[in-house]
């Protein structure tokens, strides 16, 4: 192995405990006080250019009545917070919020639990099986969402879906001509399975990577002290993997809360209200009802709710980010 890799390997074999050793300010070595600002400038410029004005514009839109007529004339009518009060008094809106929260909680839990279990499985396997399973997970991760939805759509197709045939064959029930989306619960089961299926590989591989970092001495010490595997996992492994879990849970919440493509494409671009999540509700209000002001307000409320929901995890992430 080249010396570069062994040096890096040495670097990461340091204990993974949060480091409290003071770092010598590298800044003074590199000399320039302006250096950090210059370094983050390009990234900030891109983000600012693409999102800055649009966010401001969306904020303005949310305070206006902006239908197709106004869109063509490029001029909206100011109505203050009427859009927001309309949303908050709309029963459908609250159903959509509740549904989005329920879906996010379910999807994130399933993803994290199954992903961690798969990671533990990977850690226990022999090298050949591990390579096979890892390769499988990577194939799944590599599939573009549009492709994955197309395949799942075909698998649960009303006329020719293989899932229907298989379930009937295994005598789980009669799924011939089964309409997966007629019943809201079964429809959501398909959507959740699709989302979780696509999300597991990333979580499993990241957690597995973390597991390989857990120092064997600690595990052995705990085992010789008489701890069961579960206790070892709970008291030794989990605390060490906490930073990974925090990131993964935060990202999963953020991503699953905003799920759009899977639902949209599975339901052929015309999901009925029972399948609305907040991002779909915002999109259809804007584009199908041509109520751009109202749609913008919904989107902003969605961001606010997401911030509240993920607040605890985000704060942890910022703390981790700041601590180094």
């Amino acid at each position: 192995m080249s010396s570069r890799f062994s040096a890096a390997a040495a670097a990461v074999s340091e204990p993974a405990l949060p480091s409290r050793r003071p770092r010598r300010p590298f800044a003074s070595r590199l000399g320039s006080r302006a250096a950090p600002y210059l370094l983050i400038l390009p990234a900030c410029a891109v983000i600012g250019a693409v999102l800055g004005y649009p966010l401001y514009f969306m904020g303005r839109l949310s305070l206006q009545h902006y239908g197709l007529f106004q869109l063509i004339k490029h001029k909206g009518e100011w109505i203050g917070t009427k859009n927001y009060s309309q949303i908050l008094h709309d029963g459908l809106f609250w159903h959509v919020v509740a549904r989005t929260l329920a879906f996010t909680a379910t999807a994130v839990s399933l993803t994290m639990v199954l992903g961690t279990l798969f990671a533990l499985l990977l850690a226990q396997l022999g090298p050949k099986m591990r390579v096979l399973l890892t390769a499988g997970l990577i194939f799944v991760w590599a599939m573009p969402v549009v492709v994955a939805v197309a395949v799942w759509s075909w698998m649960v197709d009303f006329e020719f879906g293989v899932a229907n045939w298989l379930l009937t064959y295994l005598h789980i029930g009669n799924f011939n001509h089964h309409d997966w989306f007629a019943n809201t619960w079964s429809g959501w089961a398909i959507i959740t399975s699709l989302v979780v299926w696509g999300a597991i590989p990333f979580v499993a591989l990241m957690v597995y990577a973390g597991l390989t970092q857990v120092p064997q001495e600690l595990v052995e010490a705990a085992t010789t002290d008489g701890a069961t595997s579960w206790r070892v996992f709970r008291d030794v492994t989990v605390p060490l993997l906490k930073p990974i879990f925090v990131i993964l849970i935060s990202l999963s919440i953020i991503w699953d809360f905003q799920v759009f493509n899977q639902i949209w494409i599975l339901l052929n671009g015309q999901p009925p209200p029972q399948y609305f999540t907040m991002s779909i509700y915002a999109f259809t209000t804007s584009f199908q009802q041509s109520q751009y002001g109202l749609g913008s307000a919904i989107a902003l409320v969605m961001v606010a709710i997401l911030l509240v929901v993920s607040f605890v995890y985000i704060r942890q992430m910022v703390k981790i980010g700041d601590a180094e």
Binding site: A49, F57, P243, Q258
Partner: protein, 276 residues
Amino acid sequence: MRTRRARRIVLNAVALLVFAVMVFPVYWMVSTAFKPGSDIFANTPVWFPYHPTLGNFGDAVHRPHFWADVKNSLIIVSVVVAMSLVLAFLAALALAKFRFYGRRAFIVLIIAVQMIPLNALIIPIYLVLSKAHQVDKLSGVIVTYLTFVLPFTIWTLRGFLLGVPRDLEEASQVDGTTRFGAFLRILLPLIGPGLVATSIFAFIQAWNEYIMAYVLLHDPSKQTLTVWLASFTGDRGTAWGPLMAGATLTALPVVIFFVAVQRKIAFGLTAGAVRG
């Protein structure tokens, strides 16, 4: 000894089951792509393409603008990956190595950016890009994609940079003007795996994206492969055989990219992950 073997067998069986269940949709896509129409629409599923045909692939490839769209997707993705690596590396360097006023704000910014539903911003983003004459241009799409790829890549690269041991940093403190150059020369190879991991993430995000691409790009010869794929579910119903063939072709570059860098991945994920 017995229990060890039994345990091994059980674990392997479980692993095989997990593998089969997870990979089945991928297998189904590929096998459908090779099946003729009569097998695809058979009343009993045909599990293996016993009469493989390249007809579906031929149909897919001969659809209008296929090769143009392949080129577009490859251009967009390569530029997004390259630029995000550069920009994210610089920003991650700042976060990892410097204490500066506004650092916390920057961290909050890159986390907050990920929470914004891009779909809601379609029209405002369209307006901004239109003013800059970037609509119906690949560069407009590239810049938009960068925005939602950067946060995660910055965060991950920051983690990798933190993993570089201090003695190596200090070893690079050669005097004079070669300071930063030497620093880079030592640093870059060490975080190589990190760069690979983030480039895979950027690749997948850019390759996957659908809605912004179809709104921002009008000319069919400028569209991306994912939008091209959506054209299969046309108004005349879905041509499943060619669609699965097209889907396989669309998934292929990502898989190739993975295989090409797969050794570095495992190492990369290992090296950087724990640094949170």
